[in-house]
Symmetry: C2
Subunit: 427 residues, 2 copies
């Protein structure tokens, strides 16, 4: 019996073509976040199960978490998200870390899901967080990074960022609609799913939550209002934060991609202030590309004395690849060797390897021969590798200490001394 070659269900193999895309994404993510002064971090793949039990939300822990006992009976889990690891690490060096803490990471995360487009069991996710500092400035900065990333991919005009504030929502739910905390939470989850529901199902959900006609009218007005109306009718700290973020976005030059959307909730329970989701402007792709928000009790699990508020977002590779592909922007630079060195007979290998080694020492990417090849085979190998040049050895040329260098783009062949090759490759 032979084994199957497929990867484990819901995961991907990254053959070089795909891994180059992954590296390209990471390189662009790093470039943008580092230009804002963010620093890279990472944590282990396995964490104590208890790290997720308290905060990650019931659906993740009960249904989606990979967890097991290790040989010493420690209950461990494969990380399903990065924020708990971030919280643990920050809490571990709370006194030493200068504020604001500006960190980013690109971890692989695991959730037990039924694989479908946009959802896999293993995915990579850019995590960007800023902890401490002025709340509104930090929120505006995180959003600026999100916009900056899409700008870096040439997709700034393809996205819209929808902004809301959980404090505003709580104010409306509790103060205006007079509904309890428990119903508030259930209602926010219902709103979170609204886009994927039929209107009748949504209305039925509201009634099931016990909302009376007055409360439903209130909610409908809130959901339909533009920000100016909201700011007037529902004056509160949350509404003022939104106004401030719009103002700061203006100073940072991205107010044009930002819109107020009272229906944005974010699924996770730990958000307390700003929440946002980024959407593809093209109507075919109606699902949120990514999102984030402000959490006020990041380190509460580790310290009852201290509190630290932060703002962050997570941007998954699967959605990002689909988005870029849809818009024809998934264009990582191809892998192009500078030179393929070939060799017509075993007796000349030492010479061929010497050339390859010398060109490599000058900084070129050089494929050395892996056997003797005929002229024709050599050109075929060069062609297949996508190399810019192929070095060939001709009997007559070698007598004069010359090598044949073929430019694979123009087809031009020149006979050169060893010390002349580099200057042609360097063009």
């Amino acid at each position: 019996m032979t084994q199957p070659t497929q990867p484990y269900k819901g995961t991907r193999d990254f053959y070089p073509e795909d891994q180059r895309i992954q590296n390209w994404l990471m390189q662009k993510f790093s470039k943008v976040t580092e230009s804002f002064g963010y620093e890279p971090y990472n944590g282990p793949m396995l964490e104590p199960f208890d790290l997720y039990a308290a905060k990650s939300g019931e659906e993740i822990v009960k249904k989606q978490l990979y967890h097991f006992q290790d040989q010493a009976d420690r209950h461990v889990a494969i990380r399903p998200e990065m924020t708990p690891t971030l919280a643990r690490m920050v809490a571990g060096k709370l006194q030493e870390l200068p504020r604001p803490i500006r960190w980013y990471s690109f971890p692989n995360l695991w959730r037990y899901e039924q694989p479908q487009r946009g959802r896999l069991r293993e995915h990579w996710q850019l995590n960007v967080d800023i902890l401490g500092g002025d709340r509104d400035l930090a929120d505006a900065e995180a959003l600026a990074i999100a916009v900056g990333i899409f700008e870096e991919f040439g997709a700034r005009d393809k996205i819209q960022i929808r902004l809301n504030n959980r404090a505003l929502v709580n104010h409306v739910f509790r103060e205006q609609m007079k509904i309890s905390d428990t119903v508030s939470l259930a209602l926010s989850k219902l709103l979170d799913a609204k886009d994927k529901m039929k209107p009748e199902a949504f209305d039925a959900g509201l009634i099931a939550l016990g909302l009376d006609a007055d409360q439903r009218r209130h909610l409908a007005e809130f959901l339909a209002a533009d920000f100016t109306t909201v700011a007037q009718r529902f004056d509160c700290a949350g509404a003022r934060e939104i106004a401030r973020i719009f103002e700061l976005a203006g100073s940072m030059g991205y107010a044009d991609v930002l819109v107020f959307d009272p229906a944005i909730m974010r699924g996770l329970d730990y958000y307390t202030g700003t929440v946002f989701e980024a959407y593809d402007v093209s109507p075919e792709n109606r699902r949120a590309l990514f999102g984030g928000g402000r959490y006020d009790d990041l380190i509460g699990l580790f310290s009852k004395k201290d509190a630290l508020s932060g703002m962050g977002f997570g941007l998954g590779d699967v959605g990002m690849r689909n988005f870029l592909e849809t818009h024809g922007l998934l264009n990582p630079p191809p892998s192009v060797p500078d030179l393929v060195v070939t060799c017509p007979e075993a007796g000349l290998l030492a010479r061929a390897l010497d050339v390859a080694t010398k060109m490599r020492a000058l900084g070129f990417c050089v494929l050395a021969p892996t056997g003797a090849l005929s002229f024709k085979q050599a050109l075929k190998q060069g062609d297949r590798s996508g190399s810019r040049f192929v070095l060939l050895m001709g009997e007559e040329e070698l007598k004069q200490d010359l090598y044949i260098l073929k430019n694979m783009k123009t087809g031009e062949q020149t006979s050169l001394r060893l010390d002349q090759i580099a200057s042609v490759l360097g063009v």
Copy 2:
């Protein structure tokens, strides 16, 4: 009850300082391997348990593997090494992939171990493999990459590569010493551990394996011989491969770091030809830094029709960091922002953010203000961030549309217009 902030036993948190080192290692590994035309790949963290059951060696599977059943009762394992994933991926595209296949990866791997210096439960490991092509050329190329990596870190003169060949060893054990395959395998494991044993314990081990005085004398002679003697006395395919690799190493300019060492075995059972280990030349560090070898039956688990021989090595981050640190070579470039933009009062934030955004658009790494700071606080923040420059706003200067730019290295302060700042930062 608050939770502990330590990472799971035997794992590390990578705070930015450490993650920068990790990125620096990866960047140098990539640079060297890609200069030989190797392409990046990766696979999932979880693999079917059966992938390891057959080939990874009893110690890994029985004692060190993290494995569990998923919710659909699939038996999965967290990868303890990369070669089985490589084999699965290569077997999955066997017909499409042009030979030789030159691939590298830098995965995190997991083994359940008692944590100690150089051994952790999670570590990262550079994997470099070449599959197909001429055996000796491929072996010599893999060794050249290993040497090239140490050269890249400025540590070429700090290592020695000890070379042996399993076919030679088998020839000596079976043909000369006339011992059975089972005893051969046990003997090779004993030799693998020889360096860590007292001589008496090693001798006792030989006797326990049933080796008679004649066989022990034979073994002692083999272990004591230099390569010239071995090549004469034990002429066989394995010995000829060693001779050929020395010759090719000469052509590629690294024969000086290569020595023959008949005691090198490598623990894993799947090696069939060349085996090697790299050692720190300084006598305090007696443990192998890393090693690798040639395996002939890479894809046997997936296909009974095809065979593919390869050569590869794995270089772990833990040993590499210790080695570089010991030699004072663990020197990643520091993280240096170009500019910290500060702001003395909330009313000027829009202006400060505008400057920060404009400088970032020109390619500089800029930390934006996260609140209003006094002149003194602003300088302190600039100092702590390690930034090259700090931008300050003075009342008088602002009236003339000027900003104060302080060079944190020289202490020099200049008053500049917005359009003059970039040229100073660009120096």
